[in-house]
Amino acid sequence: MKRESFLPLVGVAGLILAWYIAVWVRIVDPVLLPSPQATFAAMIKGMGGRLGFDFFKTVERTFYATAIAAVVAIPLGVFLGASEKLYRSVEFVIDFFRSTPASAMFPLFLVLFGVGNWTKILVAAFGAALVILFNVAYGVMNARKTRLLAAKVMGASPLRVLTDVMLLESLPQTFVGLRNGVSLALVIVVVAEMFIGSTDGLGHRVFEAQQLFDMPDMYAAIFAAGALGYGLNLLFLLIEKRFVHWSGK
């Protein structure tokens, strides 16, 4: 391994060192900032039990939300993007709701779907879908004109131009949408778990630990959420690298 590949560890070591020093010199009340050992102990213990279960529930909800968003938004994005006029006519509506904080939609979704598990999933799906839709549509619209012409000149029908060229051309941008979408879905799911009568999930875990003033547990849950967010992003990057090998080339 090259020495450069260890560089990211420097920041991690720095953070843990700063944390140790902060605990050691008591800059912060020890009740508010537990030591790194206490936090990691809580994390390891938690992941084998309650925290692990909550982690799984959040993964499950984020997965469903992203899947629903992708299934709805990708075909719709291709459809809208295939005609620039059509996209321009709905662009304002998409941008408006894309800019609306999804958390502001909670009450509406509660009225529509009740307080069940699916409400959280659907709000997250709603937020993610708009992000994915916007990216897919732009990916299709920005398909290289030369490439479309090349396919046409070689005898491809308009439908084949769409399936052979436009869809593949939009894939790199679609993955940008999916990565942003899954991050947003996770944010919304965690917030929903805190405030929409939840009994499980990482959001619930963080909130409950805070209510019980169990700081090591709370930090453990926060780190678990961070690891999840980072991991999801990495997962999509790896999938992209595997299936969209030409991206950025």
């Binding site: 490439r147 012409l149 090349a150 000149v153 070689m154 593949l168 090998h245 030409w246």
Partner: protein, 271 residues
């Protein structure tokens, strides 16, 4: 026979005797872009099995001409026929200037070359066989299992040309195919193209912004005027093939090139 002929009086001309029957006939071609007249009742014959280079001032509509012949942009008026047939009845190939944007980066080189055959309802085995035949015929020694972005510019453009040739076209259109390549690669690609032309005998129409290249490759050089484009000259160049570096200092070549340059500059000054 080694002679230079021109249709205009005053040119270094030996009038050619029997012209081969035209392959492409263009009659009454008209085209406007946002009110600017690019072509107005334009007539042109392109001979069968010959290499025609199109040269002219910037923005005179060189590319527009072959794009209209190849059906990439619609004509306002006029008729373009290929020995009496319409574009949809013939097989043709088109090579774009920007190979990076014209090839499909998600397909391996070999699948790129095969792509146009997918629209001809040929079974997979037959498509592969055709590609392999072409590769063997041209003696191409590139690893075709690679993706376009793993190749040099020249190799990518060679893949583009092979993709255009695999359908065994009647006509091959080339829009400034080498202008994105460095000089060394351009020289190499000229030789490749000349060899392909000699081996296939396909009618070729090349748009070029390099006069030396235009004359070197051509049987006939079409010089266009400023817009609305007219034929400023349509000179024959009949040096034997394969042409080589020695051709570049051949008196007939030098003379024709000077003649073309003179007409070109006359046209440029008019603007």
């Amino acid at each position: 026979m080694k002679s230079v002929a021109s249709e205009k009086a005053g040119a270094p001309a030996i009038r050619r005797e029997a012209e081969p029957p035209p392959h492409i006939t263009i009659r009454g071609l008209s085209k406007q872009f946002n009110g600017a007249v690019v072509y107005d009742k334009f007539d042109l014959d392109i001979p069968r099995g010959k290499f025609v280079s199109v040269f002219g001032p910037n923005g005179c509509g060189k590319s527009t001409l072959i794009n209209m012949i190849a059906g990439l942009i619609p004509v306002d008026a006029g008729e373009i026929l290929f020995a009496g047939k319409t574009l949809s009845q013939i097989k043709f190939g088109y090579v774009f200037q920007n190979y990076r944007e014209a090839l499909f980066p998600w397909l391996r080189a070999i699948d790129n070359i095969e792509y146009p055959l997918r629209h001809m309802n040929l079974p997979k085995a037959e498509r592969r066989a055709r590609v392999e035949r072409l590769v063997a015929h041209l003696g191409v020694k590139i690893d075709l299992q690679r993706y376009p972005y793993e190749m040099s510019g020249g190799q990518q453009q060679l893949i583009s040309i092979m993709r255009a040739l695999v359908v065994e076209p009647e006509v091959l259109f080339l829009d400034e195919p080498f202008s994105a390549l460095d000089y060394e690669m351009t020289l190499f690609m000229r030789e490749q193209l000349q060899r392909i032309f000699q081996e296939t005998g396909t009618t070729m129409v090349l748009v070029s912004h390099d006069l030396e290249e235009a004359v070197y490759l051509a049987d006939r050089v079409l010089l266009l005027s400023r817009r609305p484009a007219r034929i400023a000259d349509y000179a024959w160049y009949e040096a034997p093939r394969p042409r080589t570096d020695a051709t570049l200092s051949d008196p007939a070549f030098v003379q024709l090139k000077a003649h073309c340059l003179e007409i070109f500059q006359r046209e440029v000054r008019k603007g």
